[in-house]
Symmetry: C2
């Protein structure tokens, strides 16, 4: 017999939704700890085991970080670990020195066909475009172009970008309250055009790794579209297949 209620959702998932609501509302901010399992169990009138299962799932999705003996913390892009989750570029030599972000440009525009489709916003809605370079050991290795919904990042400008030290996602998180949760990347090999080649200091026609990314926040809402060109002569893109 088919199931009567196809919308069945176990209790622990409902608890999970409530906790996510708290995260979205800023009740607990990135880096802070959330209440203990016992407290949450009391608040939601469920057993500790049910809260535990909700938190387990969120920890496996990198929304929360459990630390035995200390508590459960809201994941933050200020944590260097989450930095490498979103930039899978490793030097051939193996030594991991964080790159330097150099903003080149930041301007307003209106969403075209592709941007409106990818970001799920109206055609012609306000967007912000950012161009920047990532330098490893002083060398330009990545050339990025970011497309952001204008309403979420009001006030973002070249000056803001230049004056911030740290990853761009930690800026988005701390200043605009937008937390990047997961992303899909589409990779291709392309040839460097003249302008790109000049910017990156390679020969025109050199092979570059094109990385197209759509990034999502809570509730699978797309909040960033970006395209990067990676110079892979002295670095590689590392991926784990499970």
């Amino acid at each position: 017999m088919p199931q009567e209620s196809p919308t069945f959702s176990p209790l622990y998932r409902q608890i999970k939704s409530l906790i996510i609501q708290g995260l979205e509302a800023g009740e607990w901010r990135p880096g802070e700890s959330i209440p203990s399992e016992i407290d949450l169990a009391a608040r939601y009138s469920v057993s500790q085991g049910t809260v535990r299962k909700a938190i387990d799932e969120m920890a496996s999705e990198n929304l929360l970080i459990r630390k035995q003996g200390k508590g459960t913390f809201v994941a933050s892009h200020l944590d260097p670990r989450s930095f490498f989750r979103f930039l899978r570029l490793v030097p051939n030599s193996g030594d991991i020195t964080p790159p330097q972000s150099v903003p080149l440009d930041c301007w307003r525009a209106r969403a075209g066909q592709e941007a409106s489709r990818v970001l799920g916003i109206e055609l012609g809605a306000a967007i912000i475009i950012v161009r920047r370079v990532l330098k490893f050991a002083g060398k330009p290795i990545v050339l990025d172009e970011l497309y952001l919904p204008g309403d979420l990042f009001q006030g973002l400008s070249l000056e803001v970008l230049q004056s911030y030290n740290g990853s761009i996602y930690s800026l988005f998180e701390s200043r605009y309250g937008v937390r990047m949760i997961r992303a899909e990347e589409r990779l291709r090999a392309v040839a460097a055009d003249r302008q790109t080649a000049d910017t990156m200091g390679v020969l025109e026609g050199s092979p570059l790794l094109s990385v197209e990314r759509v990034t999502y926040t809570y509730g699978d809402r797309a909040v960033e579209w970006r395209r990067g060109l990676y110079s892979t002569a002295e670095h590689y893109y590392l991926n784990e297949l499970g």
Copy 2:
């Protein structure tokens, strides 16, 4: 106070190890079901909850597949789902037609510096090298070269490869009892050399995606080193960042 026994391992992980031993020993074969949680709990003299936690972890690592109401099954590369876990190449158009594998060559050699290091075998140990092409809709899109430890794949030949229908990992699994569990891939953009360009029907110097893979079986034992060159004009490599 620091922990007295740094080798502490919870009971459910010991159970997990025992189940993995059963998988390695072939007690339960890919595609078959393992005993029910209750049976396993009785066999190992632990509670059902402890067995459950062991199986949960193995299911999250794609070693086992749970099916409510039916049982828990050993993951198999005969399952089409696991195929796309290990070939993240998607046509731009979106339609997913499985590629055709065309073996080109298969010969014996001795492990050099790199192969012995990557595969963890003696310098000069027997290895098998396979060259093949993957065709999507009749077009050659991927050119692969595989390096395999000779002792694990005795009898592997061009004839065996040509006469097998299905993915190469399902051949390895069913005929040689070697199950590929996870892999690390290193991606770079490179220019096609003359010979590669000819084989793949592209121009010399065209950008190609170079995918270097090390594949592991149970116990993090490396059992395959491969390098692929992907033509990404009409396909892209899809990756999910969590």
